[in-house]
């Protein structure tokens, strides 16, 4: 257990984001199992520390691009869980009026650009956003969150080249959750689909500053993100952060499954951990890890953490209710927003 380098306020703020994300995602899975929405969807459980710590560093005016695995970024950014849940359920009150669903959630008021479900789309958009920032001479940054699969797409590399050349203020956050969607995983690199022995070699070939962190360690991620954002804001060009997490086992490729519901008590009573994902929960769950770190640092007591947990859980239950009670979009609205 490392001593957290973060102060109490920051730690708790990041933890709060993580908690909200976790309960949101478990609620989404529940709603799917109840038949409240159809579609393929992708869950952020296991990656909360990465998104939350990066988002903690960002300012209100910074811009964000994400991918099909966007729920964590949306909720971690503080976007309204009601409207996020409603969008996933295809309701008129959703962020995208029910048009986009889980794959394309975004909230422009909180700095999200379009969310691409085409692998590789996000880094392109994030780079463009950074270009806009630079042209307007704003002190903001653009962040692109994407997975390791995106690094197989040529578009990403073209973005790296241009971002480096023009010293664009973009932070590329590669969330490497380390196994292919449903294909064979060989363990370690190179793999069956990438010849590189380390993903940072790819941006490094374009002289992009690279950092690698344990994506389940909120302090480490925060530190890396702080450095990255600082570099960008001072005009030193793009930064690439590779954050490693171990893929949550409930993430079957297309339809996630919740074997056990998160129980924060397991952070300090690990003997309670059970179920098919026990090993992952015990060793790789970033939420429980964060809870343990808070306790060790004396930043919170068990009761305080449980109180937060209860609040977050209730918040997401309310979001579910809101979403379920929301109206579906009117058929007459199907053509809205085709053009501006």
């Amino acid at each position: 257990m490392t001593t957290p380098a973060l102060d109490r306020q920051t730690s708790l703020s990041i933890f709060e984001r993580m908690l909200l994300i976790r309960h949101f995602e478990e609620t989404v899975i529940r709603l799917y199992s109840e038949g409240r929405f159809a579609s393929h969807y992708h869950i952020y459980i296991g990656q909360e520390a990465t998104g939350s710590a990066v988002l903690e560093v960002l300012g209100d005016k910074d811009l964000i691009c994400t991918t099909h695995r966007n729920h964590g970024h949306i909720i971690g950014r503080g976007c309204d869980p009601n409207r996020a849940m409603a969008e996933i359920l295809g309701r008129a009150t959703g962020f995208n009026g029910g048009r986009s669903g889980t794959l394309h959630l975004c909230d422009a008021s909180r700095g999200f650009l379009s969310t691409s479900a085409i692998v590789g789309g996000c880094p392109g958009l994030a780079t463009g956003a950074a270009y806009g920032i630079k042209v307007k001479r704003e002190p903001h940054v653009s962040v692109g969150f994407f997975g390791d699969g995106a690094l197989e797409e040529g578009l990403v590399i073209e973005s790296f080249n241009i971002a480096a050349l023009w010293k664009l203020p973009v932070v590329y956050v590669c969330e490497n959750n380390s196994s292919g969607a449903i294909g064979p995983q060989q363990g370690g690199y190179p793999t069956a689909t990438t010849a590189t022995d380390s993903f940072t070699r790819l941006p490094a070939a374009y002289a992009i500053h690279c950092l690698q962190v344990d994506g389940t360690d909120m302090s480490a991620v925060h530190k890396a993100a702080t450095e990255a954002v600082e570099r960008c804001r001072s005009g030193n060009g793009p930064v690439f952060i590779e954050a490693f997490t171990k893929r949550w086992p409930g993430s079957s490729p297309l339809w996630p499954e919740l074997a056990t519901v998160t129980d924060l008590n397991e952070a300090w009573e690990p003997e309670r951990i059970s179920g098919p994902h026990a090993d992952w929960v015990r060793h790789h769950d970033p939420l429980l890890r964060a809870a343990r770190e808070l306790l060790t640092a004396g930043y919170a007591t068990r009761d305080e953490l449980m109180a937060r947990d209860k609040t977050a859980r209730a918040r997401m239950a309310a979001a579910a209710e809101y979403a379920v009670a929301s109206p579906m979009p009117e058929p007459a609205s199907v053509g809205d927003h085709v053009f501006a």
């Binding site: 069956a192 590189t196 070699r201 070939a205 002289a207 992009i208």
Partner: protein, 333 residues
């Protein structure tokens, strides 16, 4: 060609087996140089439809690589492809005819300079899509691997293609599947009218191949023997089933991006410096100084090639244009 008692026949150079081979290399480069010169004239005279992209100055790369390839090895080329076509054994007459849009050309005169295909000589085609030939050469390498006859392939592209995502994707696949392909970048310092430094991030293009564990090397592209040496290693690697290689050959084009380009983006001093490294001059000097060839023999070679190319030009000028029937021919197999 008469040989005198002072002429050596065995070469002291590692990538040159004999005097004869030396003259062959010289001839091949001379042919390209003379051909491009004629094409430039024809273009200026308005005889060639569209644009042509000439490779004078870059001959050593095409000849250096192709002189080591078998007849059944394959290449894919780019928009600056005449040299690759000739170096791979292309017929001068058919090549010129195609460039001039005549019926006897490789594509019935319908493709022109940018779309020259020569299956008999293992040429998968020139193309105006930057990077477009790279996956074709790699696909041919996939075929070669399946067919297990030891064939290798080579993709020629310029420094402009270094920034194509396509190159990145294809290099990755060539590496994971250990395909017998050479990625040969002719780095002449310009992507069209733009200097490489202005558009290419990273200290060294080699890193783009090295990122995939692909053996990568910078080569003096003005020295045909240096190109051969590097190509030899790469070709052997490929034939032995050890996968791709990446060669970045530093070279220079004397002409513009296309014939007629004013070239005001070039630095005059720099251009002069490159001329001093002229690959044909260099090999000629080498052969003479090492006693492998005489001044007279080389001069005779130059004249012979000039005559040959002029004859081809004269013939091409009177070959017919495509007929109406040729319009839709070969739309489908």
């Amino acid at each position: 060609m008469t040989s005198s008692p002072q002429m050596a026949t065995v070469s002291p150079f590692p990538s040159l087996a004999s005097a004869e081979e030396g003259l062959r290399l010289l001839r091949a480069m001379q042919l390209i140089r003379a051909f491009e010169e004629q094409v430039r004239n024809l273009s200026a005279a308005g005889v060639i439809p569209g644009l042509v992209h000439l490779c004078a100055g870059q001959e050593a790369v095409a000849v250096g690589v192709c002189s080591l390839l078998r007849a059944d090895d394959m290449i894919a080329s780019n928009h600056r492809g005449h040299g690759h076509c000739l170096a791979k054994g292309g017929d001068v007459g058919r090549l010129l005819a195609e460039i001039m849009g005549r019926r006897t050309g490789y594509g019935l005169g319908r493709g022109g300079s940018l779309h020259i295909f020569d299956a008999a000589n293992g040429n998968l085609g020139t193309t105006g899509i930057v990077g477009g030939g790279i996956p074709l050469a790699t696909g041919a390498a996939l075929s070669a691997k399946r067919q297990a006859r030891g064939q290798v392939t080579a993709a020629f592209f310029g420094d402009g293609a270094l920034n194509q995502g396509l190159l990145f994707e294809v290099m990755n696949m060539a590496a994971i599947w250990r395909l017998p392909v050479l990625f040969v970048c002719e780095n002449n310092g310009f992507g069209e009218f733009t200097a490489i430094e202005d558009v290419t991030a990273g200290a060294d293009p080699l890193a783009r191949g090295q990122a995939f564990g692909i053996p990568s090397e910078t080569v003096d592209g003005m020295d045909v023997l240096a190109v051969r040496m590097a190509a030899q290693t790469a070709i052997e690697r490929a034939r032995e089933g050890n996968g791709p290689s990446f060669l970045v050959c530093k070279t220079y084009r004397y002409g513009g991006h296309h014939a007629g380009d004013k070239q005001d983006y070039k630095d005059a001093e720099e251009a002069k410096a490159w001329r001093l490294k002229d690959p044909i001059e260099r090999l000629s000097r080498l052969l003479k100084e090492s006693g492998l060839a005489s001044e007279a023999a080389i001069a005779a070679l130059t004249q012979e090639i000039d005559r040959e190319v002029r004859a081809v030009v004269d013939l091409a000028k009177v070959t017919p244009l495509p007929a109406d029937d040729d319009f839709e021919a070969h739309l489908y197999a």
